[in-house]
Symmetry: C2
Subunit: 390 residues, 2 copies
């Protein structure tokens, strides 16, 4: 607990939201005073009640507590907004803080009303508890198999600041402008608009470049809270630059952890597009390959089945000219000018052991590129998702 | 064989293109005289050499033979176009017809050169053989588990005409403007432009409304040949109307067979969007749900996991307003105005036995609709595709 940024404490408690689940399912981020706050959210048009509540309250750029529950997303539920408000109100009373300063995040099944009696019993207990960063990360897990968190330090002149973050996510992963649930806490001095800009920038190069199954959830939220009370880092200052770089590192670490925990995944696919006519084309091409079921299943096996990469690329909608197109797998040029080189034999036996597979497409049409991280698709993914009710 | 349209014969032979595969892998459609011909093709930007050759030759609207092989798609191969031309030339000489009138279709692995010596040996034999519609349908199968074909009759005034078709396909199925490989033969009198218009219309409501895995192949081709020599059916004539309707029926039958044979599939998902703001929005919404890995795995299990349908819909890019949105599964209203009704309990136990699951979304924003047929996603799909090399 000593490693948290100054001015914050964490807590967890067990409400028993999901029947038969024997672990804490509530987490609390509590700032001793109101702090600067910013968030980015899912672009899904069906947003959960907690997302709508939190987004509205963040307009003021201030927060003092975040209440998070797993086991139920409070999405498409009758009275969902009322329930989210009640949760916030219960916590505000238990902590003796202003209700407007409480944010709420929920993750889990869609379409089932929250078990409010259980929450009414557990939230006052939660307010009294304490937890480590690891315990908080554990309490927000759904199908995750391990907790995702990191603490780091940054030095600005003579001062040292801390930055801690935690996240959840394993399925329904193709965040756009946000991620499943992620939180960054710092004691560096940052005004909410600067914090928000840094968050947006970090998300673009971390959570927005990963995909497990091409699905954008209804609850994606990434919140950043800054408790520093000195004169805030101004735009362009050294402090701001160092903080941005630290936040990017934290975000990339958490995003990579989410990807690594991709349901049933055994490999990370690193998909790079170069020489695209536009950035949009580069992203289209990269995501078409990253989300191709045939590509993803191919690489769960041991064969360099690159024909499926070509086919997914050709159907992506991006401008592609076969005679300009080179394809490399793990650095081996398997197709040059759109035609097989016969060198894929060199890959035999090398892919089954690889934890990461690099797929690089040079389109030869322009200067734009993109990189997306994906996972392979295994029978385990199907098994998990045929049984689990999102 | 007596059931084929007049003026056509079929043949099959075994070239042994795929090692260890003990069945015919060549099929021939041979018209006794040059006939009217039309085709629609994949929109994938990486098109196989056979697609490029056949498309160019079809500009004249005439053909006399179609040579089809399974086991190798002749895509991304060095010298692919030369090989396709040589295949056509070999057949033309063996049949004693003009080479320009020979079309070529190939399906199977990508990136491996065709075994030309085997084809040189087999094509002259093929030209001498005879086969039934069923045998031809069998010879073009790849991962298909059953042959797909149908013959029907249409009566125009006092005259009777035949229409026969066959197709292949089980994976890499999301045709756009075409399908995997499909063929329609008729002895009705149709000029090539009328035939092409009829084919385009039929494809829109058949092969263009199915998806197994959201992948558009590099070889998709649907060819129609008409041998009738009487005065052709004019635009708007009764004959044209009857033929269009028969061709649509044939196409829908073949497309449904392809879908039913979707790799590892145990259920057909019938996804209907109503009340969309535009046709484009309706298609986007329908395909987003149809290709959602989470929706597809959910319905391979027995639960009505409709939250995933909502989430896929919300992320589809189509205009959606939760308060206008109704969702029905097998006719049961599971969400009204974007909120759970609690009626999904009525579905328990009903989905595990169902061969077809109807998912209907009423968006309440306009007059446009769309319907897409998809399949569930099972562990078997992953098993098949981790092993099979496309």
């Amino acid at each position: 607990m000593s490693r948290l940024p100054r001015g914050f404490r964490l807590a967890t408690a067990r409400a028993g939201i999901k029947e038969g689940q024997d672990r804490d399912d509530l987490a609390l981020i509590h700032a001793l005073r109101p702090v600067q706050a910013a968030g980015v959210f899912t672009t899904n048009r069906l947003q959960g009640a907690p997302v709508r509540l939190t987004r509205a309250r963040l307009r003021a750029g201030l927060a003092q507590a975040v209440l998070i529950n797993s086991g139920n997303a409070n999405v498409c539920t009758p009275g969902g907004l009322k329930d989210a408000q009640e949760m916030a109100g219960l916590l505000a009373r238990a902590l003796g803080i202003r209700e407007r300063l409480v944010l709420v995040c929920s993750t889990g099944v869609i379409g089932v009303p929250l078990p409010m009696p259980k929450l009414r019993a557990a939230i006052p207990r939660l307010a009294q508890n304490r937890a480590t960063l690891r315990q908080a990360a554990q309490a927000i897990m759904t199908t995750d198999t391990f907790p995702k968190y990191l603490s780091m330090e940054l030095q600005v002149g003579a001062r040292r600041y801390r930055l801690s973050g935690f996240a959840k996510g394993a399925g329904m992963i193709q965040p756009r402008m946000a991620t499943t649930l992620a939180f960054a806490l710092t004691d560096a001095p940052l005004a909410a608009p600067v914090l928000k800009a840094a968050l947006r920038e970090a998300v673009q190069q971390s959570f927005n470049c990963i995909t497990v199954d091409g699905q954008t959830s209804t609850s994606d939220t990434y919140l950043a809270l800054a408790s520093g009370t000195e004169a805030p880092f101004g735009p362009g200052s050294r402090g701001e630059r160092l903080f941005k770089s630290a936040l990017l590192e934290l975000s990339q670490h958490l995003a990579a952890q989410v990807l690594k925990d991709g349901e049933g995944a055994t490999k990370v696919l690193k998909i790079t597009v170069k020489g695209a006519r536009s950035r949009r084309d580069a992203l289209r091409a990269a995501y078409a390959v990253a989300n191709s079921m045939l590509v993803k299943t191919a690489f769960s096996g041991a064969e360099a089945n690159w024909g499926r990469v070509m086919s997914a690329l050709g159907a992506s909608g991006a401008a592609v000219r076969p005679e300009r197109l080179d394809l490399r797998i793990q650095g081996v040029l398997v197709a040059r000018a759109g035609v097989a080189t016969g060198r894929d034999k060199a890959l035999r036996g090398r892919l089954s052991k690889a934890k990461e597979v690099a797929i690089t497409m040079e389109l030869g049409l322009g200067q734009h590129g993109a990189q997306v991280l994906s996972t392979d698709l295994t029978e385990e993914y199907v098994r998990l998702n045929a049984a689990y009710r999102t």
